[in-house]
Symmetry: none
Subunit: 222 residues, 2 copies
């Protein structure tokens, strides 16, 4: 993927700004499991995912990791350039979930661009708002810790019932079963999928990691 | 407080932009307990706190409140203008904790300003990063800290805010603040009381042993 494809505001930049971005960006292949960014101590730069998957997470005092969100092809990772932004006062870690081909733009180049270009600054804003939304969703889950456990329990039950780990189920139908809304179930399914517990395709849910689902369901059974 | 005092980038604006902001801003006095903004359905505008305190919170499906952050004098509230930003996909509620004098700027005026002015867009960015940091801290609290330490920290904070060791607080309200359930808080209060740290009576909590509370809170305050 070309660098400019990541930035919807590319055409609003001056030729100089475009040239600076292009000249400073380097292509990098991250190995599976490679940790690219370790909190505020690091400042790798803005990372654009050409292919592969990155995972953003935090680590508790006790060393427990919690996944905040994942970045897929076409996504831009903001917090690996957190030193380019003021008021970012928390530690995020970024790891390659798979071998990933990236563009990396140095933080000072991106900071300068944001200072010069309102479209660039507003794009940054939008990225942050998207990540913020992910974290708010996660907070809600953690606080209300029910639907994820209930969904896992429901899927395990259904698999037992059907005697198959491959379930023919629409999100609408699951929402009906759990007294929730379709969009809520879709988002939760996406989360379970990103955690490698299920594989979702049109009208079908495949149980991939039964042990993890059982552990998750345990919360609601206790 | 004058409007321009809230915006460190004020001098970078054109006279036209300044005039538009000034002409569109209205002073508003929110009563104690008044809910100013109810999630994505509302879009009040950018709110600047001249005096008083605003509380930003979310509400779970079960109607449980959790406080995300508070806004004091000189603070600017971004999410009451969430419709002015793309990719904000969560519901925040804003309530006046005390009678508060505000400036309110219509969302479309602020959105236009962000589109025109890189300094305004970067300021918005900084506000969002600040709120993001608050929420990340909260997530960490919820995930990792013990409720007893959080409750102690909360009581000490409230006492500082009210400038009194005698707090008018229901267990319900405390549960809302800490993202817990009333029964859980009641039980924990009973524990703190049995340890001689507080004295609890109907709708009132008295801080009895500040030193012990501070030691307990130490875990979460660090």
């Amino acid at each position: 993927m070309e660098l400019k494809e990541f930035f919807p505001f590319w055409k609003t930049l001056t030729p100089d700004q475009q040239a600076r971005m292009t000249a400073s960006a380097r292509a990098y292949t991250a190995k599976k499991g490679e940790v690219l960014h370790r909190g505020q101590a690091d400042c790798l730069g803005l990372v654009c995912v050409q292919s592969g998957v990155l995972r953003a997470y935090t680590i508790s005092d006790e060393g427990r990791e919690i996944t905040l969100y994942r970045l897929y092809q076409r996504d831009v990772c903001l917090f690996s350039a957190s030193c380019a932004m003021r008021a970012v006062d928390f530690d995020i870690f970024i790891e390659a979930d798979q071998e990933s081909l990236l563009w990396i733009i140095p933080p000072e180049v991106y900071r300068q661009l944001m200072e010069q270009s309102a479209p660039a600054a507003n794009f940054t804003n939008e990225l942050m708002a998207g990540h913020f939304s992910d974290v708010m969703w996660l907070l809600d889950q953690v606080l209300n810790k029910k639907l994820d456990a209930r969904l896992a329990a429901f899927l395990l039950e259904a698999a037992d019932r059907e005697n198959s780990d491959s379930l023919s189920l629409t999100h609408e139908a699951v929402a009906g079963e759990l007294g929730s809304a379709r969009e809520v179930i879709s988002r939760m399914m996406k989360y379970l999928q990103s955690e490698g517990m299920v594989a979702v395709s049109r009208g079908c849910v495949q149980l991939v990691d039964r042990a993890a689902l059982e552990q998750l369901a345990g919360d609601s059974l206790r």
